[in-house]
């Protein structure tokens, strides 16, 4: 019931405000027609100048740019790194030519406290300074006095040392070696005479022993 009365009350308010509403509507209808022609003519001019009145305003373009940037950031965060086959190509070593003839090492910026701690804890032997590839070592022939080093005439005064034979005695004196290795005939006979090969069976001997062995 309250709802019905509320609706009827609203209806009465609407009827009361109807003249004002109609007046506003009439004013805006008139303004609307003017604006329709203004926008239409402006659009027509822009159309013939190669632009579109219903295109994006500068604010829209800026908003789209920002939105795309945000989307790209989200995609970068959410998308896991997919396993991809990467062709590893060894690039040619990049040689940077240092025109400075002096070999310099960069001096790290270290605060006094860090320097002290490094001395106490992380002390390391100083590494050898690598030579830069552009500085080539001098050839031996170019060194002054190298010919004096090659002069070995003073060695003629030293008595010659006989070279020791590297021949193997076993390979050179075969006869002697054979003699040493071969056993005497007497010992041979003793060994053979007592030899009984496994698995041989002598019937006579078996009978002599009374059939037991």
């Amino acid at each position: 019931m309250n709802k019905i009365f509320s609706s009827l009350g609203k209806g009465i308010i609407y009827i009361c405000t109807l003249p004002i509403t109609l007046a506003i509507l009439a004013i805006y209808s008139f303004i609307g027609i003017i604006m329709f022609f203004v926008v239409g003519i402006k659009g027509l001019i822009l159309f013939f100048s190669g632009r579109n009145i219903f295109g994006d305003l500068p604010e829209d373009i800026e908003a789209k740019r920002r939105l795309n940037a945000i989307k790209m950031e989200h995609q970068a965060v959410e998308t896991p790194a997919s396993p991809t086959v990467v062709e590893i190509v060894n690039p040619e070593p990049k040689i940077e030519i240092d025109h400075n003839p002096y070999i310099t090492t960069p001096v790290p910026e270290i605060t006094p406290i860090e320097n002290h701690l490094n001395d106490l804890i992380d002390y390391e032997e100083p590494k050898a300074i690598e030579s830069s590839p552009d500085i080539e070592p001098p050839l031996l022939d170019d060194i002054e006095g190298i010919d004096k080093i090659n002069d070995v005439s003073f060695l003629d005064d030293v008595p010659a040392i006989e070279e020791e034979s590297n021949k193997d005695q076993f390979t050179e004196n075969n006869d002697v070696n054979n003699e040493i290795l071969e056993e005497p005939e007497e010992i041979k006979e003793e060994i053979i005479g007592t030899y009984k090969p496994l698995g041989t069976f002598n019937d006579d001997e078996y009978k002599d022993n009374g059939g037991t062995n």
Binding site: I15, Y28, S29, G32, F36, I53, A63, L67
Partner: protein, 223 residues
Amino acid sequence: MNPLIFIKLTESDKRVIIAILLLVILLIALAWLIGSIIIKVMKWQGKRLDTLTYDVVKLHVITDKKHYISYARKKNWRLFFLQSWKPLLIILLAILLLIIRNAITKDWSYNIWDYNVTGFNTLFFIFDFEHIGLYCKTFFGINLLAEWPKLISSPHWSAEAWCSYIFVPLITIGGIWYLVSVQCVIARTIRMYKRADSIYSKSLEGYNQADAISNDLDKTKYL
């Protein structure tokens, strides 16, 4: 006024009172219905402006009230153009049709509301409201309609009224459509100013500087 006057009312008077009351209630209900529809349309169109300006506000492209109003106004009238060109085209076509018809027949006195031969009213019941005094009755000093006026025209098809049969529906549809578009532009304009106030307002209501400073100091404790 003596309340006993109602006791003296005749049966006919009571019927008239009830009929008038019902008519008033019906009118109010109709006004409420139309008003509700208009308010719903206005809310819907207001939300449309929010949609149009959402990105630039959320992404901080527009950071002040004046810029927002300027931008929203441009968007609003562009949308109005897109919404209203169709109804205006319909109205224009209807007017052109009437002008062409009049130019061809050379009849510039053509009455589109005639109920006898040439007008659109040939399709409706027409009562003799011109002589309404004949059908009224005085009720508490007020002239009220006591019976329906005489019927002077019943619906009939007239070939000569073909132009009005096209013109009147077209102009009615176009007109209502255009008025709805205008109503939409009003709704968006109202929403535009409301949003400009709410988005870029710097209200100090409920703000206490001393409390704010102490809160800031409390926060710095934990840093």
